[in-house]
């Protein structure tokens, strides 16, 4: 492996997808800056990636809910990364979110407010420089609200729309904005759930897709990891509301 002098900023470095993504970049010779809520937990991942690949891996403590700290954080991130990938997300519990305002707010803020504000700030800096890739991990759950997880879905829909607008604005600026929708992934978040094998990706597969799309070997601005999701979600989106509401998906 040879160092190639590029840096990845990975927001959410202790998640399974975040870890796999950082590893893929490190294997390709990138330097990596990992962030997470708890320093000791992120440091463990950083040490792992560095031992496995020999790459430079640094860590920074960052809580996606503490939006007031974002400016300070970006002030110390130097040099500006070449690519940023934000995998932060929290499924939460739909039924609890229906009863507890705080829980619902946490889900919305973690999946939408935090990632959108942070990526927005980075986008300003990337735009000023005239280069960079911004990858937001959204979700198929944001393609249409469903009874079983619409609080989470709505937040992801917000993120999808935000990224779409950002992409629109920065088109032609040299900055790329990408939306990755992983579909089902075998991670801690889905541990114990029954997942359909054809629709379920491994974290490494998601990471490979992120790398391929962000670094230009796979095309597309909005990408489903398993391609089968696109026709599936198109079909689900096109079900008329009067019918959809009775399906209780």
């Amino acid at each position: 492996m040879k160092a190639i002098g590029k840096t990845l900023l990975l927001i959410g470095g202790t998640s399974d997808i975040g870890r796999a993504t950082a590893l893929i970049y490190a294997e390709a010779g990138w330097d990596v800056l990992l962030t997470g809520r708890k320093r000791s937990a992120v440091q463990r991942e950083a040490d792992d990636i560095s031992a496995r690949t020999g790459a430079n891996v640094l860590v920074h403590e960052l809580d996606i809910l503490l939006t007031s700290r974002f400016e300070d954080f970006l002030g110390v991130v130097s040099p500006l990364p070449d690519t940023v990938v934000c995998v932060v997300g929290e499924l939460g519990e739909q039924s609890r979110a229906e009863r507890e305002l705080e829980h619902a707010a946490m889900i919305m803020r973690t999946n939408f407010e935090g990632p959108a504000l942070l990526l927005g700030l980075l986008a300003e800096r990337f735009a000023a420089r005239g280069s960079g890739s911004i990858v937001g991990i959204s979700s198929v759950a944001g393609d249409r609200g469903r009874a079983s997880n619409y609080v989470y879905g709505a937040a992801k829909a917000g993120l999808t729309a935000f990224l779409s607008g950002l992409r629109n604005r920065l088109s032609g600026s040299g900055v790329r904005v990408l939306t990755v929708k992983p579909g089902f992934v075998r991670t801690r978040m889905t541990h114990g759930m029954k997942l359909p094998p054809l629709l379920t990706a491994e974290p490494r597969e998601v990471a490979q897709t992120i790398f391929a799309v962000a670094e230009g070997s796979r095309g597309g601005d909005v990408v489903y990891v398993r391609r089968i999701w696109r026709p599936l979600m198109t079909a689900i989106r096109s079900i008329p509301e009067p019918i959809f509401k009775r399906l209780r998906l």
Partner: protein, 440 residues
């Protein structure tokens, strides 16, 4: 819960552990506990008496120091991950067993031997330090010089001293990922032992035995000697690079095979073909990819299903070199006479082991696979008699059925091991089905 041989099967509560920080609390919380890596031990070693701590989530590497090729990892890191990361960087683990789907904790707890045991010892001989979580939850750092009694009880101790949270060991620099292999033919057991003696200088050596041949060709074998190919040797390779990853297409057995598939006839036919293929290659040196050389079985995932639902046993003994010929002949004869076919019959020369319960002892080790049937238990009891009489022992990582008598006769340092368990409180806390069965 069951081991790789799928026999025996026991109830045990599985407890997940993903964070090293949570280990202390989780371990201290209940007794009758044993650590489990990837469940590649054959019998009941990794089944907790009451509860089993699943260590695979402790899968992070901690650090690598290129200056002296020293790697520190958590106990649940898989050998396959180490190979994936380090072969392309020019390093190889000091010792590897016949499958790469094992954890570092499992390799230390079994003090696994590789094809280089005669030269390099067991995996435990390359561990410079380990962190052990004790019965009360406290972590102790052990090495050959620090808390050394506990260190040598943990190496080969089958998880019975505590949970291996972290370990540090040295990798071996290699010039390529290829193995220069020489095949030799031995017409009978005496020849095979001689050949293994003669290949003592080779880094790797092992013999595959045709377990069904009898009479004058009893023990006819192919002996495979290997070296890590040098830059020069591998430079002449036709395909791909020096460290080619080569992900051999792997497939899983989708269902259990019925038992007749492994009949005497089919095994005999397989053995004959395999032997002839070996004879054709004899005396030439060929370059073999590391994955194929060390882990031929891994390309068939879940091959343990080959033996059907009732599972199978592996019998692995080691006997001192002096009367190895007589004892191993006796074993092979009984085995061939019974007509129990074994795809896997492997013979190897071992050096000594350093742990109190390490399996390796100076001499020859023979390993045989057998499907579980009623008669097989009787046959193996008979064979154990021969092993005990010869002053030999059975490998705990493969064991599912040996008697206490056989075990106690084979492990002279057992008393010291038990004493250490008592002193550290491990005897009241860590216990597997194997420990229970053998009264450890």
């Amino acid at each position: 819960m069951e081991g790789w041989g799928r026999y025996p099967r026991h109830e045990s509560q599985a407890i997940d552990c993903r964070l090293p920080g949570a280990l202390a609390g989780t371990v201290a919380a209940r007794a009758g506990l044993i650590g489990r890596g990837n469940g590649r031990s054959y019998g009941d070693a990794a089944i907790g008496e009451h509860a089993t701590l699943m260590c695979r989530g402790l899968s992070r590497m901690r650090s690598f120091d290129p200056a002296n090729a020293t790697l520190t990892v958590e106990g649940g890191v898989m050998l396959s991950d180490i190979l994936r990361s380090f072969v392309p960087r020019g390093y190889f683990p000091p010792v590897v067993p016949g499958t790469k789907f094992v954890t570092v904790g499992g390799m230390i707890a079994s003090d696994v031997h590789g094809k280089n045991h005669h030269r390099d010892g067991g995996f435990g001989d390359h561990v410079s330090e380990l962190k052990l979580v004790m019965a009360g939850g406290e972590t102790l750092t052990c090495s050959p010089t620090r808390n050394s009694e506990l260190f040598f009880a943990t190496v080969g101790g089958m998880g019975m001293t505590g949970i291996i949270a972290e370990a540090t060991f040295r990798l071996r620099p290699i010039e390529s990922g290829w193995i220069a292999q020489k095949t030799m033919v031995a017409e009978n057991l005496a020849d095979a032992l001689k050949a293994l003696q003669q290949t003592e200088d080779a880094t790797y050596s092992v013999a595959w035995i045709d377990s069904l041949s009898q009479g004058s060709s009893l023990g006819r074998s192919l002996i495979f000697a290997g070296e890590h190919a040098t830059l020069d040797q591998a430079g002449g390779m036709p395909d791909a690079g020096r460290f080619a990853a080569k992900h051999a297409g792997s497939f899983s057995l989708p269902f259990d095979l019925p038992q007749w598939v492994l009949s005497k006839t089919s095994v005999a036919a397989f053995n004959e073909l395999y032997f002839r293929a070996g004879v054709r290659k004899a005396a030439k040196t060929s370059l073999v990819h590391w994955d194929k050389y060390f882990f031929p079985l891994d390309s068939i995932l879940e091959w343990n299903r080959l033996y059907g639902r009732r599972g199978f046993l592996q019998h692995q003994c080691v006997v001192p070199a002096e009367d190895a010929l007589a004892v191993l002949s006796g074993i092979l004869e009984r085995f061939a006479r019974s007509g129990k076919g074994s795809f896997l019959a492997v013979l190897k020369k071992l050096g000594g082991g350093s742990g109190l319960l390490s399996f390796p002892a100076p001499g020859y080790t023979l390993a045989l696979d057998l499907p579980v049937t009623q008669e097989v238990f009787r046959l193996l009891d008979e064979i154990d008699e021969l092993v005990v009489k010869a002053g030999g022992r059975l490998y705990l990582a493969k064991d599912a059925r040996q008697s206490r008598h056989t075990f106690e006769a084979g492990y002279p340092r057992l008393a010291a091991f038990k004493e250490l368990r008592k002193v550290t409180g491990a005897d009241r806390h860590f216990s597997s089905r194997l420990a229970k069965r053998l009264g450890i």
